[in-house]
């Protein structure tokens, strides 16, 4: 390999020419399963580009924006890398409600607000992060106003305003696949460009993961580009991960179920707006339980509204009974937070303006916002890997807890945590030397990045993803859980992990991205199943048919997941209201 900043490899022309025929093959299903790999990208022709910075921000959503801005303003040399476009990928472009806690306007004090969230969340929230989001939210609103964020339904322009003003380098359409270490501490990241045959290496003193959470590329929710990439990359280098047993209960439409725009009404078209305090118990698995008992979708399925109760199901505190949508116009709620038309948010959180019956599983594979991701070791978004920080949905801050407690806090939490994490990363970078990247390690990473292109035969990522979806997304696996089914699903997922993930093939750069995303989804599926098996109780958005009750004696604890020295997945309890002991 050669090192160069050149954008195009020698076979780019051939690669683009083949793009059309590859699409035709996909439509016919020819490249779906096991087969020969007729790669149009020549793995031996790749070039490598290396970039240096103090703080690398991975991800271009709301958290990434603030991590970059605040890290820069704290004196660090920043780079942003995103597999999509700033403000136009992940869940950020579709989030329209922004929670702002204004002490002059609210009836509750900050202490009372945090206490009420903790009651709704049955203790699953981290009160330090619950408070932090509320406390810092107004300051972030003022900055966003100045950049023009509230003036458009599209965010790229307003996001670019502070980035261009600061001259922060932006690497878009670069898929990051690996985090790099120098000894025990973070040293950067590696990935590849979608538009050129180029491996990209970032050497950084500190990294802020703003990669969002992820799902299993489900139908009906605009989360198909998020596949827990940051979480799995960090897990692979020893970071602790939390919150995988929780589920997000967003719904889609029964009619045209893949059409996220049609299903989510005006959430795509309207400008963002502010939300005040309104503590709820939303987006859990109440609707999944009704559907399990009575059928999906029309009669008592998700979105059909309260009053179709059956015995049993997830526990809901009386104080936070499902009373339907909060006061105000329906368009006042944000994406990811929205009250449904014709039903309370506890029944799945159907989109405003949604027409026709709703179906569950639209966000399958995602936990409640901010409840899954890297385990923070303090209130500065720091992970257990020195120099590695995370913010937004990539950080398991449990800001809301394991149930969605505050409308608009998803977007606000990403802004606040991005700012906190960016500053903390800059502070860390100030005191450390430039890391050293070993050539042998880089060569091994590049080999892993390009391996799916080099395979002469293997499994197409689309086939493996569809198989994964069939195993994980059914209501009786992912949402309404019991020991026997979870164990059976785990056996399938282990097979995908051990036999299929190492044989994923890719014909071009698009499929190379899909191959890495598929591997990440498989690891996330394993985490979700193991955590769900371990939590032998029901609480918030985790429901077990065989352990239907809240168990405060044994389970006032989060579950953290990490890779042990032999490479096996390990799980541990971390009691609520504590920080983890560093290991």
């Amino acid at each position: 390999m050669t090192t160069t900043e050149q954008q195009s490899g020698p076979t780019r022309r051939a690669f683009m020419a083949m793009g059309g025929s590859a699409a035709g093959m996909a439509a016919l299903g020819v490249n779906a399963g096991w087969g020969q790999n007729t790669s149009v990208s020549d793995a031996s022709a790749f070039t490598t580009a290396t970039h240096d910075c103090d703080v690398l921000v991975i991800g271009g959503g709301m958290a990434g924006l603030f991590a970059a801005v605040k890290g820069h303003d704290a004196g660090a040399k920043i780079r942003i890398v995103s597999k999509g476009r700033l403000g136009s990928s992940g869940l950020t472009p579709f989030a329209k409600g922004f929670f702002a806690f204004d002490p002059a306007q609210e009836e509750l004090t900050l202490d009372e607000y945090v206490a009420a969230v903790s009651r709704s969340a049955l203790g699953t929230n981290n009160p330090v992060y619950t408070r932090q989001t509320a406390e810092h939210s107004l300051a972030r609103v003022e900055e966003l106003k100045a950049w023009g964020f509230f003036d458009s339904n599209l965010y790229n322009k307003s996001f670019m305003t502070p980035i261009e003003a600061r001259g922060i380098p932006l690497h878009e359409r670069v898929v990051v696949t690996h985090l790099l270490k120098d000894g025990e501490r973070i040293a950067g990241a590696a990935g590849f460009r979608l538009d050129a045959e180029e491996v990209v290496i970032f050497r950084a003193k500190s990294v802020v993961l703003c990669t969002g959470a992820g799902a299993f590329k489900p139908n009906g929710f605009p989360v198909c580009d998020l596949t827990h990439d940051g979480t799995v990359m960090a897990y692979n280098i020893g970071a602790k991960v939390t919150g995988k047993e929780w589920n997000d209960g967003h719904v889609g439409r029964a009619k045209n179920p893949a059409a996220t725009y049609d299903g989510w009404g005006d959430m795509f078209d309207r400008r963002p707006s502010l939300e005040g305090v309104g503590i709820r118990h939303d987006l859990g698995v109440d609707a999944n339980y009704l559907a399990y008992k009575l059928g999906n979708p029309v009669e008592a399925g998700p979105g059909s509204g309260p009053g179709k109760n059956v015995a049993g199901g997830p526990f809901r505190p009386v104080e936070f009974a499902d009373n339907g949508p909060p006061p105000g116009p329906p368009e006042a709620a944000g994406m990811g937070d929205g009250p449904p038309a014709g039903g309370g948010p506890g029944i799945g959180g159907g989109p405003p303006g949604m027409r026709g019956p709703a179906m569950g599983g639209a966000s399958a594979g995602m936990s409640i916002h901010k409840s899954e991701g890297l385990v923070p070791i303090n209130d500065r978004c720091e992970s257990n890997i020195p120099g590695l920080f995370a913010a937004g949905d990539a950080l398991g801050s449990h800001m809301c807890g394991a149930i969605y407690t505050q409308i608009g806090s998803s977007l606000a939490g990403s802004a606040v945590q991005g700012a906190v994490g960016g500053e903390a990363a800059a502070d860390y970078a100030r005191d450390v030397e430039t890391p050293i990247l070993e050539e042998t390690e880089l060569a091994a990473v590049e080999e892993e990045i390009l391996a799916p292109l080099r395979r002469k035969a293997g499994y197409g990522p689309a086939w493996v993803t569809q198989t994964l979806q069939g195993i994980m997304i059914p209501n009786f696996v992912l949402y309404i859980k019991k020991e026997s089914i979870l164990s059976a699903a785990l056996a399938y997922i282990e097979e995908l992990r051990d036999h299929h993930s190492p044989m994923l093939r890719a014909a071009d750069m698009h499929e190379l991205r899909l191959a890495h995303e598929t591997s990440n989804m498989i690891i996330s599926a394993e985490m979700k199943l193991r955590a769900s098996l371990m939590r032998k109780e029901s609480r918030c958005s985790h429901y077990r048919l065989d352990y239907p009750d809240v168990d405060d004696e044994n389970w006032r604890a989060w579950i953290n997941i990490y890779k042990d020295e032999s490479g096996d997945m390990r799980l541990e309890k971390q009691p609520f209201d504590t920080w983890p002991a560093q290991t």
Partner: protein
């Protein structure tokens, strides 16, 4: 189909960058946007909303590729 057609494209490439799922690419020969990976479209309309000349038409329907019997 998902993105049904792109008609009147001026080749600015905004849709390519706006698409979260890498469905659209600029065709090297024509210099215009082409629907290359329709199977991965999530029908979110960001391409349409970012297009300066309203060239993109979407359908709410989606055809999933045929899955082979075993792999």
């Amino acid at each position: 189909m998902t993105i049904e057609n792109i008609s009147g494209c001026i080749g600015c490439g905004r849709c390519v960058h706006a698409c979260p799922c890498d469905v659209i690419r600029i065709d090297k020969e024509s210099g215009k946007a082409a629907i290359v990976y329709p199977a991965d479209c999530q029908i979110c309309h960001l391409c349409r909303m970012n297009c300066p000349v309203d060239a993109i038409t979407l359908s709410p329907e989606k055809t999933i590729p045929v899955v082979v019997s075993w792999g």
